[in-house]
């Protein structure tokens, strides 16, 4: 895979409804979203004006937390959120697939990481437009060198991490319009030097009961546009009960619970408006059971 092919998206984003939906779809405490947005803005205000030697700001924010909590969606939604406040109203979003960078050929991983982050990404953003670079599942790229043994891991893994750090340092000094958002499910797998370069490491937590209720209800309301009969269920106490049962579940699974409930009976497949609170409760219980068996298996 060529380095250029590791860039899975390079788009200029405006504050449009379909882009805003990414940010708004994720139900997390408002302070989490505010911190992510504020770090992005602060980086773009301060870094062009004050030398790196003074600020130490790398323009890097790491989002971490359990799977399914919306880290990647928040990172993808950030450009539209920033677009409201940037000159010209446009923010570039570059998305990287780090998995494509690793190569079995000796020395290639380091070279590819360096080429991508230090050359290709700055070149894509050479027009100076504010740019958010999404590094999804960064643990595959910035492996904790303290945890990786040279006996078990090729030296390339260590060198690739070195290359990430060098590129971040270089970009921090030279390209203050770049703001990197890295996501990870495993902070313990991340290199310490990478984490120390993060201007903020922000936990995206599992949803609270209230958030779960909002996720399930909003999914039902969205479906109600096509199947109006579901609107009553969305506002019923059955959703409260389902949320109570779902505590501990991640947001992605909570959203899918509605579809799991629909799939359990052919009648509800035919007419989703026939979905009942009982269907929801059964689906939540099943999802919880799968979740707990996953945990035990792990």
């Amino acid at each position: 895979m060529k380095v250029q092919e590791c860039v899975v998206a390079d788009q200029v984003i405006r504050d449009m409804p379909e882009e805003r939906a990414l940010w708004e779809a994720i139900v997390v405490p408002s302070e989490v979203k505010e911190r992510i947005r504020n770090h992005g803005l602060l980086s773009m205000i301060v870094r062009p004006q004050v030398p790196f030697a003074v600020t130490g700001l790398h323009g890097l924010c790491t989002l971490y937390g359990p799977p399914g909590t919306g880290k990647t969606t928040l990172a993808r939604g950030l450009p539209a959120e920033l677009a409201k406040f940037v000159s010209g109203g446009e923010v570039r979003r570059i998305e990287i697939n780090p998995h494509g960078l690793m190569s079995a050929e000796h020395g290639q991983s380091q070279q590819r990481v360096s080429e991508l982050l230090a050359e290709h990404v700055p070149a894509l953003a050479a027009d100076g437009r504010p740019t958010v670079v999404v590094l999804d599942e960064i643990e595959s790229m910035a492996v904790a060198r303290s945890e990786a043994s040279l006996a078990a891991n090729p030296a390339d893994v260590h060198r690739a991490t070195d290359a990430v750090l060098t590129a971040l340092d270089d970009n921090a000094r030279r390209h203050p319009h770049l703001f990197f958002v890295a996501t990870s499910n495993f902070t313990s797998a991340l290199d310490g030097a990478f984490l120390s370069r993060s201007d903020a490491a922000i936990l995206v937590p599992l949803p609270t009961r209230e958030a779960l209720r909002e996720i399930i209800a909003s999914t039902l309301v969205a479906l109600a546009d096509a199947f109006p009969g579901l609107r009553d269920l969305a506002g019923s106490p059955d959703v409260d009960q389902a949320a109570d049962m779902a505590v501990g579940m991640d947001g992605r699974r909570a959203r899918k619970v509605v579809f799991e409930a629909l799939s359990r009976r052919l009648e509800t497949v035919l007419d989703p408006a026939q979905l009942t609170g009982q269907d929801l409760a059964v689906a939540v219980a099943a999802a919880i059971e799968i979740g707990s068996s996953d945990t035990q298996g792990a």
């Binding site: 773009m44 205000i45 030398p51 406040f85 953003a125 050479a126 100076g128 030279r174 390209h175 319009h177």
Partner: protein, 160 residues
Amino acid sequence: MLRSRTIAAAPVRSASVTWQVITDLVADTVAASAALARSDAEQAMEVAAPIGRMLIAGGHLDRCPLTLVAGLVHCEIGTVSGTAALSAEENLSPIPGAASATTFTIHLPAPDPFAVVVAEVAAGHPRLSDVLPLAPEARSAAGTGSLVDMNALRKEVAGR
């Protein structure tokens, strides 16, 4: 706009001669500005000459170029050594874009293990720096402070 020039080093030239070629290129470029003196550039390069020759001899300038920033000029000047130097194509004419420059800075690379020495040398002349320069597009943003629309931000804060 980011430009780059490559100068052939060993075996085509010794480190001293290579540094002199780079000095002439920098001085010729700066001299295009009526507000700047060629001698100022020559003096700065003279101060940096000892470390410059070491960087060339060690091959560091092959990988980490120095950067001249002067008005619209943002040019990385590096070297090429070994067999590649024998066939290197050079452009030694002044770098265009400095005519309107009112100031200039020569950013010296500071690779390990020269970081401390380069910092000391850079401190010896106001036109020298051991800090990596901002990329041209970033300098533009910094100059206008325009990445963020502060009025839009003020409205958001006021609306809370």
